[in-house]
Chain length 198, copies 2
């Protein structure tokens, strides 16, 4: 891209490294940044550096946070006897968005995948096991409904149940508002198996 100036090319290139940003979007974003107010570009660059440098894993639940202990783990308004296990911080924030879950979380940062060579030691499982003391009443497994998520759920169940702690799995089935005719067979069978007597 000889016709672009060096600095513009570099910015486009850096932006195109981000997930879901193709060359066209990267170009649009770059021009937006260049044409926008200088303060806005400064803010963006600063927030990237601050977030990357200050954010690390919460010492309890392993979510990403800029303090030692994340706001949820340090809140006394949450029920610390209920731990929801999720694959990543995005899944945790999806459940937080519902505003209805009052327990705490544990973020695995991945799922067991024999195919990709990801074993139990590659995810934050050791940290979860260390949390399972007497005062924990329930572990809710909210890993994805994928092969890896299910494998992880099975593995966790085998590990935690013998400790005498209640283990549950979030329901799998037809999404709310979903058209049955457009839903895959596996989900339909899952919904049937998981049916609730009215």
């Amino acid at each position: 891209m000889e016709y672009f100036s060096k600095d513009i090319s570099r910015l486009i290139n850096e932006l195109a490294h981000l997930p879901g940003i193709g060359p066209k979007s990267a170009q649009r974003l770059a021009y937006h940044i260049i044409n926008g107010p200088k303060e806005q570009a400064d803010q963006l660059a600063d927030s990237i550096l601050k977030a990357r440098n200050n954010v690390h894993y919460c010492k309890i639940c392993c979510t990403l946070t800029d303090s030692d202990i994340c706001p949820i783990c340090s809140s006394d308004k949450r029920d610390h006897s209920q731990i929801m296990v999720v694959e990543n911080s995005r899944d945790m924030s999806a459940y937080e968005h519902t505003g209805k879950y009052n327990g705490v979380y544990h973020v695995l940062h991945g799922a067991i995948s024999p195919m990709l060579g990801i074993g139990p030691e590659d995810i934050r499982l050791k940290e979860l096991m260390a949390r399972l003391k007497d005062d924990i009443e329930e572990v809710i497994i909210a890993t994805n409904s994928s092969l890896e998520g299910e494998t992880t759920a099975t593995y966790l169940t085998k590990l935690i149940k013998p400790l005498g702690i209640k283990v549950s799995r979030i329901a799998s089935g037809v999404p709310v508002g979903g058209d049955i005719e457009n839903i895959d067979e596996v989900t339909l069978l899952r919904a049937l198996d998981g049916r609730i007597i009215l």
Copy 2:
């Protein structure tokens, strides 16, 4: 979003200001930046600052560049007697991508729009007129095929033709690979009007 750490919330917020980036994408991008290598975040922040601070308008064609004169205007391999007028640098780069245009450009940074209150003095028209000396043979108007683009094209034609310089307009019609049945009536009529005798 109380459950996010301050630095993460801020980064998500800054990213969500970018065009075409919704809250979900901003979150995904933020986690990607935080989870990625530190050097990558540093590079991204640095490229934003460099591009924003070093890039300005080319003294000749008004495109965005980090030198006084952009690479195209300073190239002696280009035909400086042919000026293609475009609305913005992205349109210029789209034509450069074709690799077939060998003239130079002029970037208006907008189009005349009475609706939005953008007049001829709000775009880089004065700079274009200053370039129209004896050695210019043709001005190719490549503004968008929108109301604003057409208004600008008409205005430019009226202004430039009396100077004895050839003025042309890029063709408007059915896009290559486009299904005629899916194309709007205005475009179809435009394609008919602009038909070429074989």
